[in-house]
């Protein structure tokens, strides 16, 4: 790691003020710190957002859910009120990484990094969530832009994520055997506006909605609706661990399992 200046921000306003030059915001640091250790990332300053109280916590008001950006995966996974209205998201959070990652990593950090194999982007896209920053509100569909890219501008900080709890939802992922990141993960949600299914870990341009899965589930929100459904391998990722064809198969299989989970 190159020498770096560390700043602990107490408020979002202070964090914005501290951002200068080659500074980077850090929350759980689950991606940034390993990259810094191998010298692949070299910020001059890191501004720690994980101690800002206004960014922490889960609020559930009726069907409206708001999760503070600096809420850890552990705290999302164990939020009882959230589990009542949207158990799929607490399940998802409880399956991210390992206990160390879940104690440190945060939802804001995860989505701001937008790793193409991260779990949350699939949930937020399927739930049609809104990402709230210190400057504006951005719909998930506009927020996630390709691999490790978002519509965040310089100095813009994610402060919360908000969505309406769906009637039903489920998440199933197939892990990369080595990294245990999602090699393919599918989040399905039955909302008042219809069925949405978002896929992570498989697209060559990051998280996306699967038309094939959504069309099949729109007819019937049952695992059997996906029998014989062929997902196209076009625009899917091929790497050492999985080819596009295999990932296409996994999308259909994980979608089935997510629906089965949603239907309890």
């Amino acid at each position: 790691m190159y020498p770096v200046n560390y700043h602990r921000a107490k408020s979002v306003a202070e964090a914005v003020k501290l951002a200068k030059g080659e500074a980077k915001y850090i929350s759980g640091g689950m991606t940034l710190i390993p990259a810094m250790k191998t010298r692949l990332a070299a910020p001059s300053d890191v501004i720690d957002l994980s101690h800002i109280n206004e960014l922490k916590g889960v609020k559930v008001s009726g069907k409206t859910v708001t999760i503070g950006a600096a809420t850890t995966h552990f705290n999302v996974a164990h939020d009882e009120k959230l589990a009542k209205v949207c158990p799929a998201i607490t399940h998802l959070a409880g399956e991210i990484g390992d206990p160390h990652v879940r104690y440190c990593g945060t939802i804001g950090g995860s989505i701001a990094n937008n790793d193409p194999a991260a779990d949350y982007p699939a949930a937020l896209l399927a739930l049609d969530a809104t990402i709230v920053t210190n400057k504006r509100s951005i719909p998930a569909a506009k927020f996630f832009k390709g691999l490790f890219e978002t519509s965040l501008k310089d100095g813009e900080i994610v402060t919360a994520v908000t969505f309406t709890a769906p009637a039903k939802a489920g998440y199933a992922k197939f892990r990369n055997p080595a990294s245990r990141y999602a090699m393919t993960g599918v989040f399905v949600a039955k909302t008042k506006d219809g069925v949405r299914a978002a896929v992570t870990g498989a697209g060559d341009d990051g998280v996306f909605r699967s038309k094939e899965v959504e069309a099949a589930l729109a007819k019937k929100f049952e695992a059997s609706a996906l029998d014989g459904v062929k997902v196209s391998a076009q625009n899917l990722m091929t790497d050492l661990h999985a080819g596009a064809d295999y990932r296409a198969n996994l999308i259909a299989v994980m979608a089935k399992r997510a629906v089965a989970q949603a239907n309890g």
């Binding site: 020498p3 197939f174 295999y246």
Partner: protein
């Protein structure tokens, strides 16, 4: 069996310091004035070095030295060598290319060391390393052993035409050909044994300290065999004569073979310490471990096994290409030859065998012995072929094996080895019973109801360890003898130090060796200390690998103990005024047999050192030495059975059960032996369905971190069910065969045989990743 003697499940003495973080590893060593080294390594798999500019690096803060291969050569430091001579079939010696500790003309794999930077801190050394400007002219690379000898392929070393190091054969080719020609059935397979990265928990490290006042060097290093390191660094690398070089291997966190070899870094640290006038420490980071630790396996093999009409094996022919990487590591030539083809008879009585092995250079990390070394490759070839033959012949895999087992001992195979003892049927029976082999069909049907494919597969392995009779290995090309030494020092108060040339890097020697002393003398293990890993303390020794510490190292201790006991009896007889032949050693005392007359052990020891009242002419003191050279290899053998369930939708394999029935001969500490088996199985099962080292076509290592290289985790593995059968070896005084490698040797074919049984498709290679298994299921369906 006493509470602490042979056969007792004594908790490991060394674990207290390990689990409380009090172990002392090379990185814990601090010498006054010590500085830090970072190596500048080649980013290219194959390139000429056009220019090395160190000016900017030398001007960086904290930098003490920036040293190159040319300076190292000018100081007379030698090239790295391979210590086992192999001759090709045409009688020519193997073609060894030059391996300079720091490359100066050409780099041959990603990670090849080119420049060393020494600075006050590791961070400064790393900054300066980035400022070293090396101009390369990139060359095309070859990475697959199967391609290495093709026409038009890039050439690595001028010494090795067509990248061929040797073309070697063992056995009788004509007899094997004739047997296959007359066979009623021939099973043919093409088999790849995947390349592995050893991944010891502690990365390699070295601390070189040149003491100008004494003109003496000390090297702390992560070694499985510090005396061999001293010998090789003195005799071949001209670092210093042996009497001017002390090598210390303190606590070492795992080796698995990868820490047998002498690498460039320890040589460079010693040389750089003299050059810069400061002690120089280097500790690998995990990326360096992936890139530069000697890798394991990497064979391409064609095998033909012939059967007569009664399903008896009549002949076996094996043709293997062994990829040795960019340079020949210390024992790289022995692994795919005398540790491989000599085991091609397996547990079977086969009259005609021929093994041909071509070793080749490629632009990849050097390949050498990794847990099992050659024997896993032989077992995988044989046991996949046996299982496949059983399917082709429509007979039970267990009964096909049983029919062909060697049943009387000693048994001379056509490939050098003479099996001294064993009962292969006993392990097969034990394993089949343990897994309820007969009930498999019912379990398979239950899985099918849940949409899952259940399979069962076995492997009956044999290995040669207790390495090795010195004259025998010498005649086969070894540059060293493979005996072991021991020294037993009885102190004046009766406590005991055992100095051994074996080296413990996880094996538990501090406990098991003390248990042997307890068994012989009756003194508590707490009053026995095991001293190892320091060339200034321990006389010459050969180290730990090839499951040799029990069979060879402990046998040396037995020999030294016998001498101690003989002298102790003489002293006791003198003190008790009894006949020496009437003295027995029991429960920490020397007794006159059949009487209550005795002298306690400590009192006898005190008498030896006060020397007030010793037999006439006896030298004072009580300390004896022995060198033990084994009479034969030992032959651990066993049967492993694996049961899996495959999810056809995803290709995910769940290893439901894994049963191991091993015959290691006599066992000192069953708990430690079980631990060794569990660890070996984890590595073997890991090879079978998780671990795979991949280079791309340009020679970049794609699996250079745990993000892409899949190490087994606890939740990937079942709870192993192990049992032991026992036919003691007559080849050493303890009847012990060795247990360190068996798990890694026997398990990969059991796993693959189980998966291929489940999916009904035999076309599957290791590691059997979900994607590969899914594709194989899919291919079967179509």
């Amino acid at each position: 069996m006493g509470m602490e003697g042979i056969g007792a499940r004594v908790a490991r003495k060394e674990d207290k310091r390990f689990i409380t973080g009090a172990g002392r590893y090379v990185d814990d060593m601090v010498v006054p004035g010590m500085k830090h080294a970072v190596f500048v390594r080649s980013p290219h798999a194959h390139a000429q070095i056009k220019k090395i500019d160190t000016k900017a690096a030398l001007a960086m803060p904290g930098v003490i030295g920036v040293l190159t291969g040319k300076e190292l050569k000018a100081d007379g430091i030698g090239n790295l060598i391979c210590g086992w001579m192999i001759h090709s079939k045409d009688g020519t010696p193997m073609k060894m290319g030059a391996w300079s500790p720091l490359a100066f003309d050409k780099v041959r794999y990603v990670g090849d060391a080119v420049v060393v930077v020494v600075a006050d801190t590791k961070g400064q050394a790393r900054d300066a390393a980035e400022a070293v400007d090396i101009t390369y002219k990139e060359l095309k690379a070859v990475v697959s052993g199967a391609d290495a000898t093709n026409k038009g392929v890039p050439q690595l070393h001028p010494e090795a035409e067509n990248n061929l190091i040797f073309d070697w054969g063992l056995g009788d080719e004509k007899a094997a050909d004739a047997a296959l020609a007359s066979a009623a059935h021939v099973t043919t397979m093409n088999i790849v044994n995947n390349r592995l990265v050893p991944n010891a928990m502690e990365p390699r490290a070295a601390l070189g300290y040149y003491d100008k006042a004494e003109d003496h060097y000390t090297c702390w290093t992560t070694s499985q065999n510090p005396h061999v390191a001293r010998l090789v660094m003195s005799a071949f690398y001209n670092v210093a004569p042996e009497n001017k070089l002390r090598v210390i291997a303190p606590d070492v966190g795992g080796g698995f073979g990868s820490k047998i070899y002498i690498y460039p870094e320890e040589i460079v640290c010693l040389w750089a310490s003299k050059k810069t006038g400061v002690p120089v420490k280097w500790v690998a980071d995990r990326t360096e471990s992936f890139l530069t630790d000697a890798h394991g396996r990497d064979h391409h093999t064609t095998v033909k096994m012939g059967f007569d009409k009664d399903n008896k094996i009549v002949g076996l022919k094996v043709d293997t290409i062994a990829n040795l990487g960019a340079y020949m590591s210390l024992f790289s030539s022995a692994t795919p030859t005398y540790l491989y083809a000599t085991l091609l008879s397996g547990q079977y009585d086969i009259a005609a065998i021929y093994g041909n092995v071509r070793a080749v250079y490629t632009n990849t990390a050097p390949v050498d012995a990794y847990r099992g070394a050659g024997r896993p490759e032989a077992t995988y070839v044989l046991e996949r072929t046996m299982e496949t033959a059983a399917r082709e012949l429509g007979v039970s895999p267990a009964e096909l094996r049983r029919k062909n087992f060697v049943k009387s001992f000693p048994h001379q195979t056509p490939v050098i080895m003479c099996y001294d003892a064993g009962d292969f049927g006993a392990s097969l029976d034990a394993a089949m019973k343990a897994i309820d082999y007969a009930g498999f069909a019912k379990r398979q049907a239950a899985s099918a109801k849940n949409g899952k494919l259940r399979g069962i597969g076995m492997s009956t392995y044999i290995e040669a360890c207790g390495i090795a009779p010195s004259a025998a290995v010498g005649s086969l090309g070894a540059g060293v003898g493979l005996w072991e030494s021991a020294e037993v020092r009885v102190n004046a108060v009766g406590t005991i130090e055992v100095l051994t040339g074996s080296h413990s890097h996880g094996q538990g020697h501090e406990t098991t060796f003390a248990q042997l002393v307890n068994q012989r003398l009756g003194v508590p293990i707490d009053s026995v200390s095991i001293v190892h890993g320091d060339t200034d303390k321990v006389q010459m020794g050969m180290g730990t690998y090839g499951s040799r510490s029990g069979a060879v190292g402990m046998s040396a201790i037995v020999k030294a103990l016998e001498k101690v006991e003989a002298k102790a009896k003489k002293i006791a007889a003198h003190l008790l005024e009894a006949d020496e032949s009437d003295i027995v050693i029991e429960n920490g005392a020397l007794k006159v047999a059949g009487t209550d007359k005795n002298v306690p052990w400590f009192q006898m020891a005190l008498a030896a050192y006060t020397a007030h009242n010793l037999p006439a002419g006896m030298e004072p003191g009580l300390k004896e030495t022995a060198f033990y050279d084994p009479a034969n290899f030992t032959f651990p053998a066993g049967c492993y059975i694996c049961e899996v369930e495959v999810d056809p939708e995803t290709g995910m394999t769940d290893i439901l059960r894994f049963v191991a029935a091993d015959d290691f001969g006599n066992i000192i500490n069953p708990m430690i032996v079980e631990g060794q088996v569990h660890g070996g199985l984890a590595q073997g099962v890991g090879q079978a369905f998780l671990e795979g080292c991949h280079y791309d076509a340009t020679g970049q290592l794609l699996t250079a971190s745990f993000m892409d290289y899949c190490m087994p985790r606890a939740d990937d593995l079942p709870s192993f069910e192990v049992s032991h059968q026992c036919t003691p070896t007559p080849s050493n005084p303890l009847g012990m065969k060795g247990c360190g490698e068996a798990g890694a040797i026997g398990s990969p074919p059991a796993v693959i045989n189980a998966i291929t049984d489940a999916i009904g498709n035999n076309d599957l290679s290791m590691p059997a990743t979900p994607q590969k298994v899914w594709a194989a299921v899919h291919a079967t369906k179509n």
